[in-house]
Symmetry: none
Subunit: 143 residues, 2 copies
DNA sequence: CTTCAAATCATCCTTTCGGGTGAGTGCTTT
DNA sequence: AAAGCACTCACCCGAAAGGATGATTTGAAG
């Protein structure tokens, strides 16, 4: 953003200087003022279009984080107090695995998984696993 | 798009005319050419930004359908043979509601919802509701 | 009018979830 | 050393989910 504005200012200054220099040499007597203004207008319109895209494109990158690749929101992760192990369980849960399948995959007992899920539900303020998944996606804790 | 270009042309012509008229009356002797050009530049830059946004905004609507808003994939919906009612149930299921809550919301019995979910699982090739939700999202049947 | 699919509801039975509670181990922080 | 936390596991119990099957109604298509 800052660089975009800087470049804009640079081009603006350059254009003013350039046109001013040319004005008294070749163009002023050969071209009418209307055409002169028109050229400037078109030039800066193009510049404006370019600038506008730069600015809005960067905005869209920040506003829509779920578009494209997933990036874990570690801030919220620490805020909710979800541990690594719990996050693992959460991911497998979201894939549609049962507690037993999760237990097998993580080489722990079913009861352990149930404890993890129970703690997850509290931290995610959910009553069911489907709700927990929904919440976790909103909070960008899972893809 | 066409209207945007039309408006642009209109404003361009208007500006040229306006500035040309003013030029020989008040400004030309009072303001230096640099400032004069600068004003034109800034004006048309703003115009360019506005135009660029108009154009790219319309492009984004057509080019990136899944980024941002959700658009149902009706092709897959018909391929899987999921009915309207089943799709309703699917959406509520994905929100984390229990079968009983879905039944209350749709004014049908719990058994009816269970039948719908059972049929959904077959059509989505899922064994559990969490799996069904996962599959449905992949197939763009739900947001 | 018949056929068919969708939607509705039911009953029976099994599996999975989730809540509550207690407890042992190991690592880090104080 | 003691406290705190994450991780582990266990048992009990009720709620929710899921499987299988049969039945009725209704609207659309043939």
């Amino acid at each position: 953003m800052t660089r975009t504005i800087f470049i804009y200012g640079l081009v603006l200054a350059l254009a003013v200087f350039l046109l001013k220099t040319l004005e008294y040499r070749f163009l002023f007597r050969q071209l009418s003022a209307e055409i002169y203004i028109g050229i400037i207008g078109v030039l800066f319109t193009i510049l404006g279009v370019w600038m506008g895209q730069k600015i809005t494109r960067k905005k869209k990158v920040f506003v829509t984080p779920q578009a494209g690749e997933f990036r874990l929101n570690e801030k919220i992760l620490s805020e909710t107090g979800i541990s690594k192990r719990q996050h693992e369980v959460l991911e497998l849960m979201a894939k549609g695995l049962t507690n037993q399948e999760i237990a097998d995959k993580l080489f722990v007992s079913l009861n352990t998984v149930k404890t993890h899920t129970a703690n997850l539900f509290v931290k995610l303020d959910a009553k069911r696993r489907t709700q927990a998944i929904q919440r976790a996606k909103e909070l960008q804790l899972i893809p």
